[in-house]
């Protein structure tokens, strides 16, 4: 008979306590009604009445909040806009991160250590402070414009625009793109490139036929690792974006704190989570495959 050891049970306890329970709480909240109370909602599910409460809840269930999300075009627009920000940023991150990771993997041991340090170093400062630093760079009288005007170039007003949000997202998530790419590129056997050259490949052909296909697990891991949290990003669009920048993170915040509509905020969070389940599962599978060897 198989006995359950503490080490096998512990992760489940952990997940139940810190993931499943909060998730159910948010799900329950999303099915409640708004009320002028503290907390500002009227629960539909009353577990203190036992099974009766559960059946009453099932009868009264009308998913009214979710229906509102579908019809209110603000929510739909925020949802689509979040996806757009995440997709475009992921593509930019790939275009920027791949050459970076490639250069790191192909440089000498000493340079490689230095570059790795440079990628990790930002984590030693608070994320919030780093985003504030971007405000200082991008604001109308900021560092960027000072540099531009000293060169005699026209200045840019980037702060509080979508462009600033893209800059912030790419900046903040770059390490998450570079590290998985670096991991696969660094593992690649140099003699495979020689074999490709020997069989008639120019260096560029060798890259596309040998290096790139073998780096696809890293591309997938990096893209998902960036895409998933970027969809729900709040701090960057809030601090760098303008009033017109629509993202789900901001909507949740507004519903929760400004409108005090907890059920709506919860419903938006649940929809976002549901959307991200597929890429998350993809990421999990990818990781499992990488651990297995290929």
């Amino acid at each position: 008979m198989k006995r359950f050891s503490l080490t096998a049970v512990l992760p489940f306890v952990w997940l139940a306590a810190f993931f499943l329970f909060p998730f159910l709480l948010v799900a329950k909240l999303s099915l409640s009604e708004v009320a002028l109370a503290i907390p500002p909602y009227q629960p539909r599910l009353d577990l203190s009445q036992g099974l009766n409460g559960l059946s009453a809840f099932a009868q009264g269930l009308d998913l009214e909040t979710y229906a509102r999300l579908r019809t209110d075009h603000l929510y739909v627009a925020a949802y689509l806009s979040s996806l757009k920000f995440a997709v475009v940023s992921t593509v930019i991150l790939l275009l920027v991160g791949y050459p970076l990771a490639y250069g790191m993997a192909r440089s000498g041991a000493e340079t490689r250590r230095t570059l790795m340090m440079a990628v990790i170093l930002p984590f030693w400062t608070s994320f919030l402070i780093r985003v504030y630093a971007w405000i200082a760079i991008l604001k109308p009288e900021g560092l960027l414009n000072a540099a531009l005007s000293s060169l005699g170039l026209p200045t840019l007003s980037l702060l509080n625009t979508d462009a600033a949000v893209y800059i912030g997202l790419v900046y903040a998530y770059l390490p998450f793109m570079v590290l998985p790419l670096y991991a696969v590129l660094e593992r690649q056997d140099e003699s495979q490139l020689e074999a490709a050259a020997d069989l008639g490949c120019t260096p560029i052909q060798a890259f596309w036929r040998v290096t790139f296909p073998q780096s696809l697990p890293g591309v997938a891991a990096g893209a998902l690792l960036c895409f998933i949290p970027m969809v729900g990003e709040f701090v960057i669009p809030d601090l760098l974006g303008g009033s017109g920048t629509l993202m789900l993170g901001k909507v949740i915040w507004t519903e929760f704190f400004a409108n005090r509509d907890w059920p709506a905020a919860s419903a938006v969070a649940i929809v976002m989570l549901a959307t991200l389940i597929i890429p998350t599962l993809l990421y999990q599978r990818q990781q499992a495959r990488m651990v297995d060897g290929r």
């Binding site: 056997d189 003699s191 495979q192 020689e194 074999a195 490709a196 050259a197 020997d198 069989l199 008639g200 490949c201 120019t202 052909q205 036929r209 040998v210 296909p213 073998q214 060897g293 290929r294």
Partner: protein, 387 residues
């Protein structure tokens, strides 16, 4: 090259008639001329010159680190010589990148592409040449059959055994039909039996495809079996080039004699030379040593006599007073099945190895530790070495 009149499976020693290097008019396919290669402050290759002829199976043989791989990589284009010239078909290869050179290399580590199937690995060079799909398919099938891997084309390299992977690496290098195939210790990972089988397979392939092969190995038996000629290397230099039998029977130095097979070396001084024979005085042999040698060696000059263990004859009773008569006692012996090797300590303190073929299963007088024995050898069984 693939002359139909020439018998195709004339393997090994039967290829005696193939000797383009002896023909002064023959143009070599590959020529190394005074090639040097430096890595940091270490000189890996020191002024190497040799030729390889079309259709030849040429072996580079030498201990680890003597520069074999470096020479091969210069031919493939992965290293550039610091001085000297490497040419192929009369054309200097300097400045030609690896992908333009008509040679293919089978890497010591195989370097298979893990993301491609066996078929795609083998077809890699063919698709790079821009052949049509159908032709690539046919050539891949043909090559798979050649290396006896039919039915494994769909697998990935990690789903193969070590020996099968080695065959894929070989097939991938052969498939584009290069002018020349470079094999860097291709059989090092195989067990003895599979290695011997594959050696003959390589020779068969080389004959059927009519390609020129350059093999790097540090296994002297392997070089002797497969190669038309062997270049024995020592610390970045070539010590001797010749047919396997030449190198074994007439080594030009103590280094080569010692590197190829077992050898007993006797030190002595010339006491007489008449243009056919030379006589030596040696501490190891009070009766004097005698060997065939047509050089007139200066009286008193120091020389060495190299005698292979199987050229020594073992006697249990004292033979008559002759030259080349050694006496001592058995200090060790090893039974090898087909041979028994006896280690005999001479009165001078030197130990000598003698190999005796086990012709009969019945031994009339078994030889044991400490038994006195006598060893003799014929003058034509020894080689005189001056360095």
């Amino acid at each position: 090259m693939n002359d139909p009149a020439r018998p195709r499976l004339n393997i090994g020693a039967i290829r005696e008639s193939f000797a383009p290097w002896a023909d002064p008019n023959a143009a070599p396919l590959v020529r190394f001329e005074g090639v040097y290669k430096q890595f940091g402050d270490e000189t890996a290759v020191k002024g190497v010159s040799f030729d390889i002829y079309e259709g030849e199976f040429f072996a580079l043989l030498g201990p680890s680190g003597c520069g074999k791989t470096t020479l091969m990589r210069m031919l493939a284009g992965f290293e550039a010589p610091d001085a000297g010239r490497v040419s192929l078909g009369g054309q200097d290869l300097a400045g030609q990148p690896p992908h333009r050179r008509p040679v293919n290399m089978m890497f010591q580590s195989y370097a298979l592409f893990p993301h491609l199937s066996v078929e795609q690995n083998i077809g890699f060079g063919l698709s790079q040449q821009g052949l049509p799909r159908a032709e690539i398919r046919a050539r891949v099938e043909e090559t798979l059959a050649l290396v006896k891997l039919e039915g494994l084309g769909r697998r990935r390299p990690h789903q193969l055994s070590g020996g099968q992977r080695q065959r894929v690496a070989l097939a991938r290098a052969i498939a584009p039909r290069p002018k020349m195939l470079l094999l860097d210790e291709p059989l090092a990972a195989l067990d003895k039996k599979l290695r011997e089988e594959t050696q003959f397979e390589l020779m068969r392939l080389q004959q059927t495809l009519g390609m020129t092969f350059l093999i790097v190995t540090h296994d002297q038996e392997e070089a002797m079996v497969v190669a038309d000629r062997i270049a024995v290397m020592s610390a970045g230099e070539i010590a001797q080039i010749g047919r396997p039998a030449e190198i074994y029977e007439t080594p030009n130095s103590r280094y080569v004699a010692d590197f190829i097979g077992d050898v007993n070396l006797f030190e002595g001084r010339v006491t007489g030379a008449d243009g056919t024979k030379v006589r030596l005085g040696s501490n190891d042999c009070p009766a004097g040593l005698e060997a065939l040698e047509d050089d007139h060696l200066a009286m008193g000059s120091p020389v060495w006599l190299a005698v292979r263990p199987e050229k020594l004859k073992l006697h249990l009773d004292p033979p008559g007073e002759t030259a080349n008569r050694l006496s001592g006692k058995v200090v060790d012996y090893g039974y090898l099945g087909d041979w028994t090797t006896y280690v005999v300590e001479l009165a001078s303190g030197r130990t000598v190895r003698a190999a005796v073929a086990n012709v009969s299963r019945l031994v009339e007088r078994p030889i044991g530790y400490g038994d006195p024995v006598w060893l003799t050898f014929a003058p034509d069984g020894a080689v005189v070495l001056t360095r």
